[in-house]
Symmetry: D2
Subunit: 358 residues, 4 copies
């Protein structure tokens, strides 16, 4: 359990960080969609390690290979199988960590759960697994293009550096212009500097990714347990290092009165709109056509370059030494992952909604 | 879709606010569990309307009837069917709202999704549906009792009145001693007064519920998409009026450094513990045996007693008048709902974990 | 697990033969379907016990109550909850069988599986549970009406009395004209006589139900594991006492040559047809628009009125005495159950197929 | 939908006959199982084309590559990803069949369903897809080894040549000694001769595979819809060319009386046994510890070497010419496929049953 996401437009992933390959099977892509491999590669580039000085310096090309489900450039309705080989899985010596539990990693919990673990890197718990999601998400994005829906994420906070302007006042197109992926160029520079300081200090720092989805058709989302925002929340909380999710007015909304918070319906031309959008584009779990927007909190990643006290499988006190090449802050590389998961949720719910009426 | 929650220990609900009855089918309850109906009734009492001056004055007894799956006081392993009749579903005159879209309700989105809606109250989108979840959750709690796990929620914020103390410094047993369900008696009084003011002002206000789960076995939770906190998050975001979810360090954790945030492993007797618990009891999506704790943000409910501008199905401007008896603040009654959903998630994951090893 | 059937148009049942009530939740019924309760009651009548001299003489009215999901005579898109109370569940004395394992019943297997069982009647394994399916199936039939699809089953064999004519040469409308539900009046008389003899001999006998589905849209059914006939087969094998399923040419087809068995495509007007239909209307798991037909084998039911040797929970040899009122042959009452399950499968697959194309 | 099979021990396959590769993701394999790749390769050998004169002469090595989920020779609890490259997918000229509907193939139905199809070979509907199932099934068999369960299938009928002896009187070990996989050497010779004649006649013929499962633990299988035999039936009906499934007494059982058919319980040492086994090892959908046995009917495959009349996408009459290398009778190669699917069902249900009791 736990390796699949989605109901009809559904992905199942496999693969460990230091295994032979990662892979994803995407089921339920409607037939006849033009699949542009270049667009998938572009998303892989946005996620891959080593893309800038503030990300891990590990080099991995994350080359995708489509094995099925696409014929003459179009989806056939059958599952799309994709593999991404791990470039760099030589048999290194892992004996120095093979029985150690790294603090705030999944070493201990996986070991207790399964009684065995792939101790080379994080195994299945590694964020490397998200490469498979980004590949599938890139196809979801192409499906959303077909329906006119856009999904855009950006970095809105690193440590205490917080983008205070509402997203409507920002030129989101600027987010991809800098390596931290913040649409405010000035703040972006400060964020980059902060991450660089943290990196030099051999430490890590957290951040927030904001995501905006435009032009979602009205009536998307299922009632009760599978509300659209509950699916988005689950999708985000399933990304490594995420500690929180809020949409629309979010945690700030709790201080408001209903009379302020309610979004009045108005008619604009032949469209039903709302004057404000504290609802975040979702009412009763179902899209109302306004922008869907949400924020995702990422903790500082657990892999730091400092020595840390811990224990090993035998319960003995040991020291975990920081080694290797890791991200001082994950949010820049998390942006395409957030987009991928959001695109998968919206695509799935658009397809599900086809069954609502006779 | 969207009416079921859980994988093996799984509920499916039906029912509208003004229909004949609500119901829930609970599958996957292991056989041989003693089912105490009195404990289910107690939870229903905690959720029911009309229980205090700060909740809606609607009177509904929420009497449960167990139809199957329990024999001679014990679960038999077959599905437990429960119905809760709607006491008060006389054919009132709803013509004044039957074609109106109430602001920030699900009227418009359901109408667009299905082309039809039960306009008496919120229909399926009404929080009344959560009565069915509380009934099933009360059985989940009895299963957790068997495994020694406790789930306790309480109100930690109403409007700007925020409980700042960490939960470890509180006597959580005091939460049920006051009608707002806040374990700090002094703050509870202030919250009650605030809600009363809001009510007199014919308005509503938001709040936060915090939940603490103790003694979860180590190794519970699935990897990747179904991480334990992702399931908890989805469960909470599936409750009416919820706008945000955070666990462990949450949104505040984004400002921390990895070296502060990492929870060092230590050995206490024969138990593995962590010095701090910013992880919130979950690492890599899997429980590590520490307390699981999380916060859930509730917006001010949409039903206010003031007149509001809106439109109707024909797209004409109309006025929605506030009528009826509604909650000025949902968080006191949300406490047992949060507990119910949390208990369902933990119970499901305990059962799922039986399949991890040979 | 095991209490739900279907993917989007999906039922979940609960209830034991001697519990308070049976119930079913039908999810995924598209909104706006006119639901005629009289048609549901008609199907319940066709299945209910005591309807003729060749069925069990138990009297149960199988009155349905719709609790949700239908408003002003139409489906609303939300789950339809239905309960059927067990008329006759007084606390009889079951001590004479409470620890005995009746031969070829599920007493022993349920006891071993769950360590506990509801020993009054068959509990959850009783065919009484199928009443819930027939109620939901009656709604599926109304959905199929909307799409022009008809489902008709009939008895084609009782013991060695076998209807040899192909269904195309029969007037299927005659099936409901006699109590054994065989469309050949002469053979029907013989079947009724045979069942009566078996009944007087305090024994039971098996039979076969054939089902014909007309006007299924082309392109219904999922590839690989969920082929349309695999879903139909699973649906039939999930009915009590079923031992076999075959569709199209079935077991007889194994003796044929490919050159005989292949169904040549032809064009009739603007319709693609096949000259023969050994495929049974399904090719590669997907409907081709021809009639879908299949046969379902029912064993002689295990409850006989004779004494039988067996063992009890303690492993001691005991005698099971035949008591009560039971069916000497289940196939007449199985006809509406076969139709209900077939209707559910086709309805589900029609809805699923909406997602195939952009 | 339709590409996954199983609930906890679950496979998802992808791949077309003439695409880049086939693949399977196996989830839910408990951690710590020794995985012997040689045993997987052996099963692949049993299924592969070109293994004898009575199978297709196509040559394909069906080399598997395990990409994840196995570490140091053991399962880790994470999904096991396997790919099988298609050796022989050069860009041949398919223009002669690209718009033709071959009789009794899935060409027409896939085209109508998806509006597009991979016309090279059968695409996703090709039996080549079963290679992925056999790979996963080989792991299921290793899990069953761990629990002491054995699964053995054999050919029991080709055309009219039918093995009349009950399986208990046969030495099943002889099945693999001949190329048709029939445990009766004399009948095997006749079958081989018949298939050879059919092949020379450029035609095909059907057959039956029987499967026997020994030592299944008591209490395996879910009630109601997911009865163990319903899952087995669905698994078998999901194999290409299957037209029927029966277990235990099957279709012959319909002629019996209950008093003959009931299997009396007896105690043998400390084991509960039944005197006869018409139930086929399953009562009420749950295993009783006796042998599970069933029969699967395979039609003559549709690909024949003769010219056939048909139509094309434009609805014009055309001739389909038989070309290529195909199986004159599928049952010899179907034997390992039947075993694989049966092993997957039993493995899944053993794991599911862990959750029945507290």
């Amino acid at each position: 359990m736990g390796n699949s996401f989605g109901k009809l437009f559904k992905i199942t992933t496999f693969g460990e960080s230091h295994g032979v390959a990662l892979g994803v099977t995407l089921e339920g892509c409607p037939a006849g969609l033009e699949i542009d491999e270049a667009k998938i590669r572009l998303e892989m580039q946005r996620r891959k390690p080593g893309q800038s000085k503030i990300t891990t310096q590990r080099k991995e090309e994350d080359e995708i290979e489509i094995l099925s489900g696409v014929f003459e450039g179009k989806s056939t309705g059958t599952p799309i199988g994709i593999v991404i080989r791990n470039a760099d899985q030589k048999s290194k010596d892992y004996s120095h960590i093979s029985d150690k539990f790294r603090p705030s990693h999944a070493d201990y919990t996986y070991f207790e759960k399964y009684g065995i673990r792939d101790y080379r890197g994080g195994g299945r718990s590694s964020a490397r697994e998200t490469a498979a999601r980004v590949a599938a998400g890139a196809i979801a994005k192409q499906l959303l293009d077909h329906y006119g829906v856009t999904v855009q994420a950006f970095v809105s906070q690193v440590g205490n550096l917080k983008l205070e302007k509402p997203y409507q006042e920002l030129n989101l197109g600027l987010a991809e212009e800098n390596i931290v992926r913040c649409p405010d160029p000035e703040l972006a520079d400060q964020m980059i500097q902060l991450i660089d300081e943290v990196r030099l200090d051999r430490d890590t720092i957290g951040g927030v990714v904001t995501c905006v989805i435009k032009n979602t058709p009205v009536g998307i989302g299922e009632p009760v347990f599978d509300r659209l925002h509950a699916e988005l929340g689950k999708a985000m909380l399933g990304i490594n290092a995420v500690k929180g999710f809020e949409y629309g007015s979010g945690f700030d909304g709790v201080t408001m009165r209903g009379s302020q918070h309610n979004d009045a319906f108005i008619k604009e031309g032949d469209k039903v709109k709302t004057k404000t959008n504290f609802s975040g584009g979702i009412q009763g779990g179902i899209s109302n056509g306004e922008d869907i927007y949400f924020r995702v909190a990422f903790k500082p990643v657990a892999t730091i370059m400092k020595d840390q006290e811990s224990i090993n499988e035998a319960g003995e006190s040991i020291t975990v030494s920081g080694k290797g090449r890791h991200d001082p802050c994950v949010v820049p590389r998390a942006v395409p992952i957030v987009e991928a998961m959001a695109a998968l949720v919206i695509a799935d719910n658009i397809i599900l909604a086809k069954s609502n009426k006779l």
